[in-house]
């Protein structure tokens, strides 16, 4: 009797006493790996951006930086140098070595907080994204939350604070305009984004992102060529989500906040050294997170419908393969992000707001109604 009482009375963390240590240990291992990979991709997507833009504009891009020893290895050294492989490391080192200067006219506390507040949500978004099936007995997701997508939207909305604070803290005209523009833009597209994915969850019936992936296994219409991805069932939702993701990450057709030709650098005009680099890294980390989100919601996550790759992996090789599939899909989206930046001219601000409020919100509403009606008809009433 006393024994039973202790079990029911004990707090939630003591109930799983047996595997508590292993759980914490594996969580830390997963977090360290994910953050490491994320930082790697952040650094090298900056390089990819420079290289792809150079390719599109018929230039060479970064091809000079070489490390003393590795640069003189016969074939590999010059090749990596030409690829610009060492550029991100040197760029990172350079931002550290610059004088960390805080101008006298800024609001100091917010000025220091803003870069950190931009960076932290970008990191936190990846927590719920399943980046693989299983590896050993571990699920390849940092936190398998049942509220999945709500958590993501909650964290994404925190990203507004960093930019707004930066604009306010700088106490200077260009950053102020950049911060104000960006806050209005980001909150507008947040609504379109939140509405666009509702049909997805009407189909799935669960907010957990793992169930979204489970839903997308198999083939569409039992036809072997087409995967059962939600992008085919909800193309309008995907389109709205994609455009809203561009607006939320302040990428090119919608990069109003930093708009070089009008606002110098926008909200980060007064920043220097690593504080500037943190804004930069935050932007790219956000791009990676939203790419991962789109892959999970609309492109089947870590699954491929062929060769049984849509079932959780039974062995180690399968688990690694699933992570590889996820990363490949994510990188395809990253290239798309970069490609669009160098292909599409910037929107005017009123056009941007009209697109969000007058096109996408009604479109998303109609999409919800149509999905609901189709499901209602299919249910046979």
């Amino acid at each position: 009797m006393t024994h039973l009482a202790t079990i029911t009375m004990s707090p939630w963390f003591a109930q799983a006493d047996l595997d508590w240590k292993t759980f914490a240990l594996w969580s830390v291992v997963k977090i360290v790996c994910v953050v490491g990979v994320l930082l790697f991709f952040v650094a090298y997507s900056v390089l990819a951006e420079r290289k792809i833009s150079a390719f599109i504009q018929d230039r060479l891009g970064p091809n000079r930086v070489a490390l003393p020893l590795i640069g003189s290895i016969p074939v590999i050294g010059p090749f990596l140098t030409k690829l610009g492989f060492w550029q991100p490391m040197v760029d990172g080192l350079k931002s550290f070595l610059k004088e960390d200067f805080t101008p006298a006219h800024v609001r100091k506390v917010y000025f220091w907080l803003a870069p950190a507040i931009t960076m932290i949500p970008a990191f936190l978004t990846v927590a719920v994204i399943p980046f693989g099936s299983t590896l050993g007995n571990q699920q390849m997701v940092i936190a398998n939350l049942d509220v999945g997508i709500l958590y993501t939207f909650g964290i994404v909305s925190l990203g507004v604070y960093g930019i707004v604070l930066a604009g306010y803290a700088a106490n200077s005209k260009y950053p102020f305009l950049g911060g104000i523009r960006s806050s209005a833009q980001m909150i507008s597209y947040e609504i379109a984004m939140g509405m666009s994915v509702i049909p997805v969850f009407m189909l799935v019936g669960n907010l957990n992102l793992n169930s979204v992936i489970t839903y997308q296994t198999g083939h569409l219409f039992n036809w072997v060529l087409l995967p059962n991805w939600l992008v085919f069932k909800q193309p309008i939702a995907f389109l709205i989500f994609l455009v809203a993701a561009f607006a939320e990450t302040n990428r090119m057709p919608f990069d109003m906040p930093e708009c070089e030709t009008e606002l110098v650098g926008g909200y980060n005009t007064e920043y220097s050294s690593m504080k500037f680099a943190l804004f930069f890294m935050g932007e790219y980390a956000n791009m990676i997170a939203s790419s991962a989100m789109m892959v999970t919601l609309f492109f089947g996550g870590w699954t491929l419908p062929w060769f049984g790759l849509d079932q959780p992996a039974g062995n180690f090789i399968g688990g690694v393969l699933h992570i590889g599939i996820f990363i490949a899909k994510m990188l395809a989206f990253m290239v798309f992000f970069i490609w669009v930046r160098w292909m599409v001219p910037r929107f005017r601000y009123d056009q941007l707001m009209n697109l969000g409020w007058q096109r996408f919100i009604p479109l998303a509403l109609v999409n919800i109604v149509v999905t609901g009606a189709v499901l209602w008809l299919l249910a046979g009433h």
Partner: protein
């Protein structure tokens, strides 16, 4: 009754938050230290009057940094709060929609149409009041 399994899933989120905060502030702190060390032979750290003024393309800044802004931005903020709350109400409904179609199909479909209809009337009102127009 709280699902202990689900509560446990928030522990990695907290760890990740700690890692992210440590990374962000660690980088900021390290940047100050390394920046001081790397520039120790130069005359940095001195703030001169010119270095301290706000950047305005090389001109001396005129007036205050934060000027007045268009009322449109406040309007967008208010509309955001209204619509975002409506979006939040849509999520619980979307999740139960499929399972409720089995037994109470007309009830859930009808309540969806009613809610979205009211939302849409509000949207049309804001549209007719030209709240979304940016050209003045």
């Amino acid at each position: 009754m709280v699902d202990s399994q689900q509560l446990r899933e928030y522990v990695p989120v907290l760890i990740l938050a700690a890692v992210a905060i440590a990374f962000a502030f660690g980088t900021l702190a390290l940047s100050v230290v390394v920046g001081k060390w790397a520039n120790r032979s130069r005359r940095t750290g001195h703030s001169t009057r010119v270095k301290d003024i706000a950047y305005e393309c090389g001109m001396i800044p005129v007036g205050d940094g934060s000027s007045r802004l268009s009322v449109k931005f406040y309007l967008v903020a208010m509309l955001f709060i209204l619509f975002d709350i409506e979006v939040v109400f849509l999520y619980p409904w979307a999740v139960v929609y499929k399972s409720m179609l089995v037994d109470h199909a007309n009830l859930i479909f009808g309540s969806m149409l009613t809610f979205l209809g009211i939302l849409f009337v509000g949207y049309i009102y804001a549209l007719k009041k030209r709240a979304f127009e940016w050209k003045s």
